[in-house]
């Protein structure tokens, strides 16, 4: 019987190494589907609240952003609401930039290993920085 092959077995379904291009690809799907469900429902709730009157709008604002100080469940809802809003804003920025990356790749550009890696790293980093800058401005700069 022949000697076992010395050729590498990788890439294999369970043998792989994380790369920036993989991260961007997975984040594109995760942020897109996250926004599709959480963002879609939140948008509809917000539009409904605006249309249904100031009381319904007040309920939206109460649970998403500022509940009364003594209301424990309201404050829990606020923490979730703020995490969701900050998460959605990051998801939007990340998805927008990786979507623009897809447009570039759709015309056949940006597949060179170094360029692909560089843009993937840049998109991921810039999205986090822009999200932080946005919330710093909203919570500190503008207030």
């Amino acid at each position: 019987m022949a000697q076992p092959s010395q050729r590498p077995l990788s890439p294999h379904i369970t043998i792989w190494k994380w790369g920036p291009h993989m991260l961007v690809s997975i984040l594109h799907r995760a942020t897109g589907d996250g926004m599709a469900i959480l963002g879609g429902l939140l948008l509809l709730w917000w539009l409904y609240a605006v249309s249904a009157g100031s009381e319904a709008y007040g309920i939206f604002q109460y649970y998403v952003w500022h509940a009364a100080t003594g209301d424990v469940w309201g404050l829990v809802a606020n923490i979730i609401g703020k995490i969701v809003l900050i998460g959605l804003s990051w998801a939007f920025i990340q998805h927008m930039f990786s979507g623009l990356r897809h447009f570039v790749m759709d015309i056949g550009a940006g597949y060179e290993l170094n360029a692909n890696k560089r843009w993937s790293v840049a998109i991921t980093a810039v999205s986090v920085v822009l999200t932080a800058a946005l919330w710093a401005w909203l919570l500190v700069g503008r207030a």
């Binding site: 799907r29 897109g32 589907d33 926004m35 599709a36 469900i37 879609g40 948008l43 509809l44 539009l47 409904y48 605006v50 249309s51 249904a52 009157g53 100031s54 319904a56 709008y57 007040g58 939007f92 927008m96 979507g99 623009l100 897809h102 447009f103 759709d106 909203l138």
Partner: protein, 128 residues
């Protein structure tokens, strides 16, 4: 698979059973999402206040209500395609896949219509 043309041999294969229409529509709605979402979020961030009176007055204008309706159509069409791919890739049981895809389609269509109804209600004098 024996005699057919090269194209006939590959038609209907793959998880989605079809090809470019999905891809092109996803790109088309991606471009409209980009324009409309940047407009929407920039406008919201620039509003002097997000209280009910300010938001209602803003959304009631035709120059806001029309792009907002377009945004709902664009976003819910795009997310329908995205969620469809998610189901096709990860739900392997044919029956469950069928039900999941139906749910995705219902969510997208109900979401679009409900959202448009809310915008129309605000435009034509919603509750205060």
């Amino acid at each position: 698979m024996s005699n057919g043309t090269e194209l006939g041999k590959v038609r209907g294969l793959g998880a989605a059973k079809e090809g470019t229409h999905h891809w092109i529509t996803q790109r088309m709605t991606a471009v409209s999402n980009l324009l409309l979402a940047v407009w929407l979020f920039a406008s919201l961030l620039l509003l002097p206040s997000l209280d009910h009176w300010a938001v209602t007055g803003w959304l009631a204008q035709p120059s806001v209500a029309i792009p907002m309706i377009l945004f709902l159509i664009s976003v819910f069409s795009h997310l329908r395609l995205g969620l469809q791919v998610l189901v096709e890739d990860y739900v392997h049981d044919e029956g469950l896949k069928f039900v999941s895809l139906m749910f995705v389609n219902f969510y997208a269509i109900v979401g679009t219509v409900f959202g448009i109804y809310c915008v129309v209600r605000i435009s034509f004098g919603g509750a205060l």
